[in-house]
């Protein structure tokens, strides 16, 4: 059977299993609608460390530790890690995962990193290069604010289109050991730029990329929205949701009644003052591990298209007047007995 489908997709010959997932989040996420479902909620935003960057490293370390203990797998049995974060030169990943002594592929896909990590992890396992791999991604509100916006104590007004970076790390173990969830295939996104320059409206920057990859997934597989029980994007937020639904309607697909976004699910917009919703690599990663995997396991959703979305910018590109292109990677998750 030909595994490569269409222009951008793969359907795996031996779909790897998502053996286990683990999530660690901060206090605000713990108080959100999904609060009960996370494996660990830390009340201390510093996670007992001295700096925000160390705190984010600690998030990654704890998530992997929990993942290994939940799945009763020793770290020597994990062949590779595919991991990333938002900080310059991936320092949260480097310092967080160093102690595990597991071969690492460091990834940057902005907030789409979880999709990228799972895609590469699943490809590796399907190809027989590894029995088990870990895919993970993290973000921290304070380290992201510091890098991309202002120091925390600086007073400013956030526009209503701004999103709130999730403090959290989600990690999944992908491998050949049977479980209730399989990664049936992937659709890898292209960089899509509709010329939006407002970095405080990331939903608008990323929605075209999400629309492109979902559309391509339908084309490559020869299906439409009815093929999925749920389509879940990473961090488009409320504005991005409106735009994505409109963009796909233009192409003849109505996903509005089976679509949600991790950034919308993770916070309560009204009581948590998060404006457009949650964002960051951690947003899709922890929502996947705590909420989506659970619902697939319980068979509430039989087939889910998980689409983490990323905005490709830096403070340099922004200051130099560049637009903010987006990217999104789709992963097909399916319940199995």
């Amino acid at each position: 059977m030909e595994q490569s489908k269409g222009q951008q997709s793969i359907l795996f010959k031996e779909p790897p299993y998502v053996i286990e997932g683990a999530s660690v989040v901060g206090d605000k996420e713990g108080k959100g609608p999904l609060g009960e479902m996370f494996d660990h909620v830390s009340e201390d935003p510093m996670f007992g460390m001295n700096t925000w960057e160390e705190a984010e490293s600690c998030l990654q370390k704890e998530a992997v530790e929990i993942l290994l203990s939940k799945s009763r797998v020793s770290k020597v049995d994990v062949k590779y890690m595919f991991a990333g974060d938002l900080l310059g030169q991936l320092i949260a990943t480097s310092f967080g995962l160093m102690k595990f002594d597991i071969p690492l592929f460091g990834l940057y896909g902005a907030c789409s990193t979880m999709g990228e990590a799972m895609s590469l992890g699943a490809m590796t396992v399907n190809a027989g290069y590894a029995k088990q791999v870990i895919a993970l991604a993290s973000s921290h509100f304070a380290s992201a604010e510091k890098q991309f916006r202002f120091p925390l104590e600086y007073g400013s007004q956030r526009p209503l289109s701004a999103s709130w970076t999730v403090t959290g790390c989600g990690a999944v173990l992908i491998g050949k050991t049977k479980s209730n969830i399989r990664i049936m295939g992937i659709t890898t996104g292209k960089i899509v730029d509709f010329g939006v320059k407002d970095s405080m409206n990331m939903g608008a920057c990323m929605a075209p990329a999400a629309s492109s990859v979902i559309y391509q997934n339908f084309m490559d597989l020869g299906v439409d929205e009815s093929y999925y029980d749920m389509i879940i994007t990473g961090d488009l937020g409320y504005i991005g949701r409106t735009i994505l639904i409109d963009l796909l309607k233009e192409k003849g697909y109505d996903i509005s009644n089976k679509y949600t976004d991790c950034g919308i699910e993770i916070f309560d917009q009204n009581s948590q003052d998060t404006h457009a919703g949650g964002s960051g690599c951690g947003c899709s990663a922890v929502t996947l591990c705590a909420y989506i995997l659970n619902n697939i396991k319980k068979k509430k959703w039989k087939r889910v298209l998980f689409v983490p979305t990323g905005a490709l910018l830096s403070t340099v590109s922004y200051n130099e007047g560049k637009s903010v292109p987006g990217i999104a990677h789709a992963v097909i998750l399916e319940h199995c007995n």
Binding site: Y154, G155, Q157, L160, F194
Partner: protein, 153 residues
């Protein structure tokens, strides 16, 4: 040709985005800024009157008022209260001297971890720097204009 089409498409998309994006109400923001800025000025006036009543000269009272407002802003920044005021009051708390103090102290706190020289030293003026630079430049321009006017009389 393709470039022109993309440009048109991007323009349309940006217009559509601004249609679906909610925005803060400008009028409400102005009112809040007026109240916040007014309150800060009133506190300044209270300080001023206190210093004058204590027997200070006009000039000295003015300097001490400025210093007191800066101290207050620094304290509120350190206690993480100032961002809350600005979130509500917007430009009302950004424009007065307290906002300036906040913009200097916030980076100092944030970058302390990166060291005295490369952290605090290099980054303390990341936000206030432009204000200082162009503030001095514009006062220099104003000074020259003032000088020319004086000469012409």
């Amino acid at each position: 040709m393709a470039d022109v089409l993309k440009e048109r498409h991007d323009k349309e998309y940006n217009k559509y985005v601004s249609d679906v994006t909610p925005k803060h109400s400008c009028l409400l923001n102005c009112i809040k800024a007026f109240i916040t800025g007014g309150t800060i000025c009133m506190i300044g006036q209270i300080f001023m009157t206190l210093f004058l009543n204590a027997g200070m000269s006009n000039d000295k009272s003015a300097s001490f008022t400025t210093l007191s407002l800066i101290l207050l802003s620094v304290l509120l920044t350190g206690l993480n209260i100032y961002p809350l005021i600005t979130k509500w009051g917007g430009a009302g708390s950004l424009v007065p001297i307290t906002g300036f103090a906040n913009s200097v102290v916030a980076p100092a706190i944030e970058y302390k971890k990166e060291g005295q020289v490369f952290g605090i030293g290099c980054k303390i003026f990341t936000i206030a720097g432009p204000v200082i630079l162009y503030g001095i430049l514009s006062s220099w321009v104003a000074g020259i204009i003032y000088y020319i006017i004086l000469k012409m009389r």
